[in-house]
């Protein structure tokens, strides 16, 4: 059971793949917004294509028809009227009518997109360098977004460090994660499957690796996924729990387990080693040191590394911190 869960987490490391789409331009439409956005997009596309072809057609016709035969040609164009107010007004007003219509449709869609329905399933999303963490109603934290089909889901978005933006192309929606305030988006999934989730607001080194997936479950699947996770978490031994936290809480983005230094020091051989800090002091890495480093990471900066880690105070409980300590002990 547990190894199966760990395996499923291991596969989440491999990049998600968009399911095949029947549209050249847009990814598969998997939410109720997709119909609106794709319809408006298609209208704009064909209208623009028509406008562009008309302009190009007339332009190239004139170029060919009125082209001077050679450089020496001294003839001039036929000087007719140089302005025609009726024409100017026509080609101002006709586009304006279209633009007003497009604006109104875009506005209606946008209001819909920004107004979360009541009684939606609420999932918290937290952006941090360089990981999304989703907190489910039962308190479970996961790096993947799981949602049921045919149900309104509201994502409440926060950031712990810099700007991020939660972007799910298949749902045609995105919203910035702004530190210091809440933002939200909502969707109503219409297709089951796995869809890529990106960070769309530049956030530094590993911005382009801040990718995860949204899993839309068939009816009942979301609840059983939740139960399964819960059961597994309850029965885990500390080392397995620690490994799970390592994968899920974003530790692995900055700490390797094979000795290579990433943004932060590697966990390999960490336990019991002598640490020297940027301020010149030092300590032996024991249980207290690791707990302090998780809860107050800015307190002791290992020399040679930037003070980049956010605090996990209140985000990990004692059992989970204990798990991480036990997991680190196994990395010799």
């Amino acid at each position: 059971m547990i190894s199966k869960l760990l395996a499923s987490i291991a596969t989440s490391e491999s990049l998600p793949k968009s399911p095949p789409s029947n549209d050249t331009w847009m990814p598969l439409d998997a939410s109720t917004f997709a119909g609106h956005v794709d319809g408006l997009y298609d209208f704009l596309f064909w209208l623009s294509t028509l406008c562009a072809l008309l302009i190009y057609g007339v332009m190239f016709y004139f170029i060919m028809k009125y082209r001077a035969p050679n450089r020496d040609d001294s003839a001039v164009g036929v000087e007719g009227s140089h302005h025609n107010t009726a024409m100017e007004i026509t080609w101002s007003v006709v586009p304006l009518v279209f633009l007003v219509g497009i604006f109104v449709f875009g506005f209606k869609g946008y209001v819909d997109l920004r107004t979360s329905p009541r009684n939606a399933l609420e999932i918290h999303a937290q952006g941090q360098k360089w990981k999304w963490l989703f907190t489910y109603p039962n308190g479970h934290v996961d790096s993947e977004l799981h949602a049921p089909i045919d149900q309104d889901v509201r994502i409440i978005i926060q950031s712990v460090d810099v700007l991020h933006s939660l972007y799910i192309p298949a749902f045609r929606t995105k919203m910035d994660a702004v530190p210091g305030r809440y933002s939200d988006l909502w969707f109503h999934a219409t297709k089951t499957g796995e869809f890529p989730v990106f960070c769309a607001e530049y956030c530094g080194t590993a911005h382009s690796d801040m990718i995860t997936k949204a899993v839309v479950h068939e009816p009942g699947g979301y609840e059983s996924w939740m139960d399964e996770i819960k059961a597994k978490l309850d029965n885990m031994n500390p080392v397995e729990l620690g490994k799970l936290m390592y994968d899920q809480q974003g530790c692995k983005t900055c700490h390797s387990t094979d000795g290579s230094p990433l943004v932060g020091p590697s966990w390999k051989g960490l336990f019991g080693s002598k640490r020297s800090f940027a301020d010149g002091s030092g300590a032996v890495a024991d249980e207290n040191y690791i707990t302090n480093s998780i809860n107050n990471p800015q307190g002791q900066i290992v020399s040679g590394f930037a003070p980049a880690m956010p605090t996990y105070q209140g985000k990990l409980n004692d059992k989970q911190i204990n798990g991480i300590i036990e997991y680190i002990k196994t990395l010799k």
């Binding site: 623009s48 007339v58 332009m59 009125y66 450089r71 001294s74 875009g106 997109l113 911005h207 382009s208």
Partner: protein, 557 residues
């Protein structure tokens, strides 16, 4: 406009000047350039510097595109990519496109088109250039220390927390802002005070109208970015707490400040391009421009409306729905003056006598790409569609079609159009045509696939990407190299022309604006006696005929 009947052919010939050396040879020695007060020399120094910066920005662009040929690491690592992407954007925006047409081309041409001896404040003009150099040095110092990796947008709190050298880059942009403000002040005053007798506002060449509209934006909007960047620097140094939420600030406030300048700055970049294209299309169609007043006043309309649309960059930032709606509505309005321009240009060609020399090829390329750039802007102003497309490659493609396809294409057109005037020599027309085609093809192959990447969900500023996007990225990279080849060729034949090109006539294209009534290259004082103007800027093509001996246009007898 006065009727053409009062016009006599001799009015269109070279205005006689006292014998003196042209501006290139008038004084000798490096200091006669570094401390010159002559607008033509300052413009030429700007031109060379801007082209140098363009090469640097292009180098970073190719580094970025090469890296993206494969997903995952290839030639540079994550951080180097982010630095290259930032420097590409910052160099191209602040060092190339903003000063490109006004400060380089406009500096030389504006006083000539006004029959003036110089701009209103020659010393301020020199100071603008010196500030440009200083700003560029700050950019380079950031590059040498530890290049900023914030993107050219400097969004907080990333920019206040990243360990890279943000302060030199931001201070560089601050200084470049003053350079831009001084140029704007100078141009506004020049248009108001130095017009020759008889040149009423509606006898101004459209290039002057465009530069004037641009100058108004430069003067009014640029101080805001100056203050914003200064606050960013203070925040980084002493933890001021205006933007960083950790200090009680608001990062969305920074976005408002930033785009309050940077959206009008888009028009600082593109409105001068409208001016260049208006000149070229009239001259090479050998026909008076259609809808002069509409083209002139639409520049002003765009300049003014451009101040009220900054929030369309922020539909997904958490800005209120009401604010977003107002910004979206005003953004749609900008499409109207833009459409007016395109349709008037095309109509000008009707029953014209169209010469397809290199400047005209660039103007046609401009119409092609700018139409796409403009129409895709409508997609992005549509709020619900923008939510999907925002911060994806669709936006990257859109603004490259406008900035690279619009502003740079027009800049190249203007460069080829006025090159004989600047240097007094012609370039190799055949090579120039081949290069123009390469640039046009490269441009479309580079940026069109990016629309498709964007709609399919590829976010921008990504070092790595999902394997499904690889094909389109590779196409885009191939296009970028074709584009690079086109510009390399351009550099080659322009250098060749400067060294050993054929001597240029005063009026190689048959233009009727005043710069063509001045020798090529112009004498030191341009015009000894201020010319009197009794006609509109595009009247009198019928009085000019091609002279085979000089390969230029001369008045009919």
């Amino acid at each position: 406009m006065s009727s053409a009947s009062t016009l006599i052919p001799a009015d269109l010939g070279v205005i006689p000047s006292k014998p003196e050396e042209n501006y290139l040879k008038h004084d000798k020695g490096i200091l006669s350039w570094v401390f010159t007060l002559d607008h033509k020399r300052i413009g030429l120094m700007y031109l060379v510097s801007v082209l140098g910066a363009f090469a640097l920005g292009g180098f970073f662009a190719l580094a970025v595109r090469t890296e993206l040929f494969f997903p995952g690491p290839t030639i540079i690592n994550h951080d180097q990519y982010n630095q290259a992407m930032t420097l590409h954007g910052a160099v191209m925006v602040f060092l190339v496109i903003i000063p490109g047409i006004p400060a380089a081309l406009g500096n030389i041409i504006m006083p000539l088109q006004l029959g003036a001896k110089d701009v209103a404040f020659p010393r301020l003009n020199l100071m603008s250039y010196h500030l440009w150099v200083l700003g560029a040095l700050f950019f380079i110092s950031s590059l040498v220390i530890s290049a900023a990796d914030t993107g050219w947008t400097f969004y907080v709190p990333y920019s206040t927390t990243t360990p890279t050298a943000v302060i030199p880059a931001a201070f560089g942009a601050f200084i470049l802002g003053f350079s831009s403000i001084f140029t704007g002040l100078n141009f506004i005053t020049t248009v108001h005070k130095l017009r020759p007798p008889g040149m009423t506002w509606f006898r101004l060449p459209l290039f002057i109208w465009a530069l004037y509209s641009t100058a108004v934006i430069q003067v009014l909007a640029t101080p805001v970015i100056g203050i914003t960047l200064l606050m960013l620097i203070v925040e980084r140094v002493v933890g001021l707490g205006i933007f960083d939420p950790a200090l009680g600030g608001d990062p969305v406030l920074f976005q408002h400040f930033f785009w309050f300048y940077s959206h009008p700055a888009v028009y600082i970049m593109i409105v001068p391009a409208f001016g260049v294209v208006s000149e070229i299309i009239a001259v090479f169609s050998r026909k008076e421009i259609f809808g002069y007043k509409f083209i002139a006043l639409s520049s002003v309309a765009i300049a003014l409306l451009g101040f009220l649309v900054w929030g369309h960059h922020m539909f997904t930032s958490g800005q209120s729905v009401l604010a977003g709606t107002i910004f979206s509505a005003i953004t749609f309005l900008i499409a109207i003056p833009t459409a007016i321009k395109i349709l008037n240009w095309v109509t000008t060609m009707y029953k014209g006598r169209i010469h397809l020399d290199t400047p005209m090829l660039y103007a046609i390329a401009f119409l092609w790409v700018f139409t796409i750039g403009g129409l895709t802007g409508v997609f992005l102003s549509t709020m619900s569609v923008d939510v999907h497309l925002h911060d994806t490659y669709f936006v990257v493609a859109h603004f490259h079609y406008v900035m690279m396809g619009g502003a740079i294409t027009a800049f190249m057109g203007g460069l080829h159009y006025w090159w004989p005037k600047f240097i007094g020599r012609m370039y190799n027309e055949k090579l120039a045509k081949v290069a123009t085609v390469l640039v046009f093809v490269g441009l479309n192959v580079t940026f069109f696939p990016q629309f498709l990447l964007g709609t399919r969900g590829m976010p921008r500023r990504y070092y790595n990407y999902l394997p499904e996007f690889q094909g389109l990225h590779q196409l885009s990279t191939i296009g970028a190299f074709v584009l690079g080849l086109g510009f390399l060729m351009t550099a080659f034949y322009l250098i060749q022309s400067a060294k050993s090109g054929k001597k240029a006539p005063a009026n190689p294209w048959g233009g009727t604006t005043l710069e063509w009534q001045c020798a090529s290259p112009p004498p030191y004082y341009n015009f000894h006696d201020t010319p009197e103007v009794n006609r509109g800027p595009y009247e009198g093509y019928a009085h000019l005929k091609f002279d085979k001996e000089t390969q230029g246009y001369v008045p009919t007898e």
